[in-house]
């Protein structure tokens, strides 16, 4: 039956031309090829987010008066609402985690080198957008923690010189975080960010498909010296089936997390109440937050927070353009970027743990 359908479409669309490259696509297999799965896992988790997000959209109400109650309604009254919502929250965190893993694996396996600079840039942009998803989505249940985390987060964005204040007002939909902020974040979360991300994913995937999988330099060198060592796997169906297994493990993990550790509802936000002690952002912002806390309030003549924000922004920009800072044919396989990557990873982990345990 599938064959008949395929023939019908092929007569009209000439699918062979499109499908053929995919049939012949191969994936290199070596000691480190397990890392190749993480991009696909991140994509799968994004798909889970889109599907559970659409389901949640059927019941969620984005106004300050009703947002919290609607999420409570989903958690308590809607059949399996607790499951859909908890999967959405857990998958968000897992997706950000796998995105970071994917990025670091690309960094250490040096897959960002020519000709894959555009893939890296689109990937880092995707990472930023995904964190934007996390930040905007976190506010939507309109509970106390989210309200104050958003206040602190947008306040920090407002510290950027010159453009900071207008940017903060734009993000907040006003000078303070109010119901207008909620509506605006909802618009970002379900329309603006998905649109941008879909376009970038399309570009990212197209580049990957077009250029094939990169091979780590050491392995590349070995295979160049001895071509008979080269091992490859067909993308379709071998790699895909393995990827499918990874996806099944992911959905099983999500289900287990949702059932065993349902996501908290919290307490409804009261805009005029004072902030509870010890407000912290979500874990994926902790390393930045803790770094900012450690910077003294005045460094020479510059305000400490401004310096911190500028520093983070510059670091982000540098990270985005990383491939362009390394020559195409570096002298060694382990370059200074590898060292920088190790430093960045260790720094993020240490700062996140520190931020978690600090008062």
């Amino acid at each position: 039956m599938f064959a008949a359908l395929y023939r019908w479409l092929d007569e009209r669309l000439h699918l062979d031309g499109l499908i053929a490259p995919l049939r012949h696509k191969t994936v290199p297999t070596h000691r480190l090829s397990y890392w190749y799965f993480f991009g696909g896992i991140t994509l799968f988790l994004f798909i889970v987010q889109v599907l559970t997000g659409i389901l949640l959209l059927l019941y969620y109400r984005p106004s300050a008066n009703e947002a919290f109650e609607s999420v409570q309604y989903i958690m308590t009254r809607v059949q399996f609402g607790w499951l859909i919502r908890s999967i959405h929250s857990w998958s968000a965190n897992l997706m950000i985690f796998t995105a970071f893993v994917h990025m670091f694996s690309v960094l250490f396996l040096k897959a960002y080198r020519k000709p894959r600079e555009m893939t890296w840039v689109s990937g880092v942009l995707l990472l930023f957008l995904v964190m934007g998803f996390g930040f905007s989505g976190y506010l939507l249940p309109w509970n106390k923690l989210a309200f104050f985390a958003t206040t602190v987060g947008t306040q920090m964005a407002g510290q950027v010189p010159i453009i900071g204040q207008p940017m903060m007002v734009f993000l907040r939909g006003g000078p303070q975080v109010t119901g207008a902020t909620l509506t605006r974040f909802f618009g970002f979360h379900v329309a603006v960010l998905p649109g941008l991300v879909v376009v970038l994913i399309a570009i990212h995937l197209f580049l990957v498909q077009r250029q094939g999988m990169s091979v780590p330099p050491k392995v590349e060198a070995a295979w160049t010296a001895n071509p008979s060592l080269r091992r490859e796997m067909r993308f379709f169906p071998n790699f895909l089936l393995r990827e499918l297994m990874a996806w099944y493990v992911a959905i099983g993990t999500l289900g287990a997390l949702a059932a065993l550790f349902p996501w908290n509802l919290g307490v409804k936000a009261e805009p005029f109440a004072s902030a509870p002690a010890g407000i912290k952002p979500e874990w994926y912002f902790l390393f930045m937050y803790q770094t900012l806390k450690l910077i003294p309030s005045k460094v020479w003549i510059v305000d400490g927070e401004v310096l911190g924000i500028l520093g983070c922004s510059l670091a982000g920009l540098f990270w985005l353009l990383l491939p362009f800072f390394e020559s195409d044919k570096p002298a060694r396989t382990r370059t200074w970027i590898t060292g920088l990557g190790v430093f960045a990873l260790v720094y993020m982990i240490v700062m996140s743990v520190y931020g978690y345990v600090a008062k």
Binding site: E66, E69, S70, Y73, R77, V78, Q79
Partner: protein, 153 residues
């Protein structure tokens, strides 16, 4: 003899794989789709309980009487005055949190815990209560009396 067994094991193996795969696909898809399909069916109770609530129906209250209704997380007091005006206020006394009631004889709101008295606008006029009661908006929708919080800025 070995040649006889080989095709047998291959078929049984293929069948085993087919069972696992087919069974796995069906079972896993069913376990994904079942919650989603149940999710799509709207629950019988539609009221969110946050912003506004149907406190009562016209005719539930007699003139010059009051009744308690649930509003979100706290009790509310709905009063029908003798001239037909409806009033709705928070029923949590601002002194120590007891539930207040409408006194038809006093035509005022009374707290039985320590004899606090509020007027019909919620202002604390006598006794221990330090603050007035929060007032709500009341509209009539058909024969439903709808109570809603005052609009947030």
């Amino acid at each position: 003899m070995c040649a006889d067994h080989i095709p047998q094991t291959r078929t049984t193996r293929r069948r085993a794989i087919g069972m696992f795969l087919g069974g796995g696909v069906l079972a896993s898809l069913a376990s994904f789709l079942y919650p989603v399909l149940r999710f799509l069916v709207p629950p019988p109770v539609v009221d969110l309980g946050g912003d506004e609530v149907v406190a009562a129906k016209v005719g539930d209250l007699k003139p010059n009487s009051g009744g308690i209704f649930r509003f979100g997380s706290r009790p509310g007091l709905l009063i029908l005055e003798s001239d037909g005006t409806y009033r709705a206020l928070s029923a949590t006394c601002t002194h120590l949190g007891c539930t207040v009631q409408y006194r038809a004889d006093l035509r005022q709101i009374w707290c039985p815990c320590h004899n606090g008295i509020y007027d019909l606008s919620g202002r604390n006029v006598s006794g221990p209560p330090p603050r007035p009661l929060d007032a709500f908006d009341v509209h009539l929708r058909g024969d439903e009396i709808v109570v809603s919080r005052k609009r947030e800025a």
